[in-house]
């Protein structure tokens, strides 16, 4: 591992420690950051730019435990050439890393309040570090509701951890899938249908939502229906992130730069642009 670089444009080289296949198209890479002075510190919700040498660079949310600074965890779905190259790497091989970038989930603001975590598909990835933090400091929060929607039972990410979280008596965790066969005994329907089953105080609760934009729009609508104010709903968006530091403008979303002002936004800040097809 190369020394820590201070220039945000220059990637540092990191080695892959181990790899886990999460589903047919999704892979988790665990990067070795133990030699880095102080390890790799980040806040839940932040992302890194990962560079597959000679192919390209992509923004990928951090999916690991913030307390484990000696390793850095990224969960990547194959959607193109760069992600295909990154997920094709083997333990011991290297990639380029820049980051961490962006804003984080409002875990401080959520203290002493009910928490709603609504994740759809790969949206669970940037929320997982927040879940680790909340569960590690469980007594700092009131009721914790985790709601996760996947396409089918085979697409459920981090299935072992989900089972573990579900087994806890101090967390309400519900999983739903969009479609399933008769061998599935869980919930079927969109993730927003789980919101009305959650127990929370709408006057004070804080919601953290991540998933495809349409899913987030419907989740916000349901949260609003249940009485949650816009200023206590937080979303993580993704928009063509490239430089990571608010200079190139590729991720501009109205008057905000998603890479610098986001990816985690308070909904009332994003609301004017959120459902506009021109933006």
């Amino acid at each position: 591992m190369t020394p820590v670089r201070t220039e945000p444009w220059v990637p540092e080289t990191v080695a892959i420690k181990r790899i886990a296949r999460e589903s047919a198209d999704t892979t988790t890479l665990v990067l070795d950051t133990s030699a880095r002075p102080g390890g790799f510190a980040f806040k839940p919700g932040q992302f890194n730019m990962l560079y597959a040498f000679g192919i390209g660079e992509v923004p990928i949310s951090i999916s690991g435990d913030p307390a484990e600074t000696g390793e850095l965890v990224h969960t990547i779905r194959v959607v193109g050439k760069v992600t295909e190259a990154l997920t094709g790497l083997t333990p011991g091989s290297t990639l380029g890393l820049r980051g961490p970038f962006g804003t984080h989930w409002p875990l401080e603001k959520a203290r002493d309040r009910d928490v709603l975590i609504v994740a759809g598909g790969l949206g669970l990835v940037p929320l997982r570090p927040a879940i680790y933090e909340i569960l590690k400091n469980r007594s700092a929060y009131r009721r914790v509701n985790i709601m996760y929607g996947a396409r089918t039972p085979h697409d459920i990410l981090f299935a072992n951890e989900i089972s573990e979280w579900r087994g806890r008596l101090d967390v309400s965790l519900r999983v739903t899938v969009d479609s399933a066969g008769p061998d599935w005994f869980g919930h079927v329907g969109v993730v927003t249908t789980l919101v009305k089953l959650a127990r929370f105080d709408p006057e004070t609760a804080v919601a953290m939502v991540c998933g495809p934009e349409i899913m987030m729009r419907f989740a916000v609508r349901e949260l609003e229906t249940q009485g949650l104010a816009d200023e206590r709903i937080y979303l993580s968006t993704e928009r063509n992130l490239q430089c990571g530091v608010g200079l190139c403008g590729h991720c501009q979303h109205g008057n905000v730069f998603v890479c610098k002002d986001g990816p985690v936004f308070r909904y009332d800040r994003l609301a004017p642009f959120f459902s506009k097809r021109e933006v």
């Binding site: 959607v79 759809g120 598909g121 996947a150 697409d155 066969g181 008769p182 329907g189 998933g211």
Partner: protein, 159 residues
């Protein structure tokens, strides 16, 4: 099961909120309680639909069976959900199989009697129809999102 029990369970369902004492009593008079074991069918596709259900406890799956592809579980419904409007709309046949996923307690309503009361008393008929419509609309919204297959990666969405 006593009428008192029906009234108590009914008062706990979102469907009955704000119904008013007179309309509530009319609706309750059409209902009774049934228990279903896991795997039991409440309704089968194509069957004459003369009842509708409110889930008091447990959950059910709505399923469509195809001989070639097998059984698809399209939706699950839980506590407080209403099942079925086919009793109200011709040709009064269920369009899906409804199967209990766990021990499930239901309020079951006699659709024929309910329709008669709704025809006789338009105020009651409107109150019931409005509640069913709200539920149907909400399910339509959910299905709109569900059919988008949102979690599939969009072409060119990320490199």
């Amino acid at each position: 099961m006593s009428d008192t029990m029906v009234a108590r369970w009914l008062s706990e369902t979102p469907c009955a909120q704000g119904l008013g004492a007179k309309n509530f009593a009319k609706l309750a008079s059409c209902g009774w309680i049934e228990h279903f074991q896991p795997g039991a069918f409440l309704a089968r596709e194509g069957q004459h639909a003369s009842t509708f259900f409110l889930i008091h406890a447990g959950s059910v799956a709505l399923e469509l069976h195809d001989a070639a592809t097998g059984t698809a579980l399209t939706e699950t419904l839980g506590v407080g959900d209403a099942i079925g409007v086919s009793w109200l709309i011709p040709p009064h046949r269920y369009h899906v199989d409804v199967r209990a996923l766990e021990p499930t307690d239901m309020l079951v309503f006699d659709g024929d009697r309910l329709k008669k009361l709704m025809d006789e008393d338009p105020d009651f008929g409107f109150a019931i129809t409005r509640r069913l419509l709200a539920r149907v609309y909400s399910r339509l919204e959910e299905l709109r999102v569900q059919r988008l297959d949102l979690y599939q990666p969009a072409e060119g969405r990320q490199p």
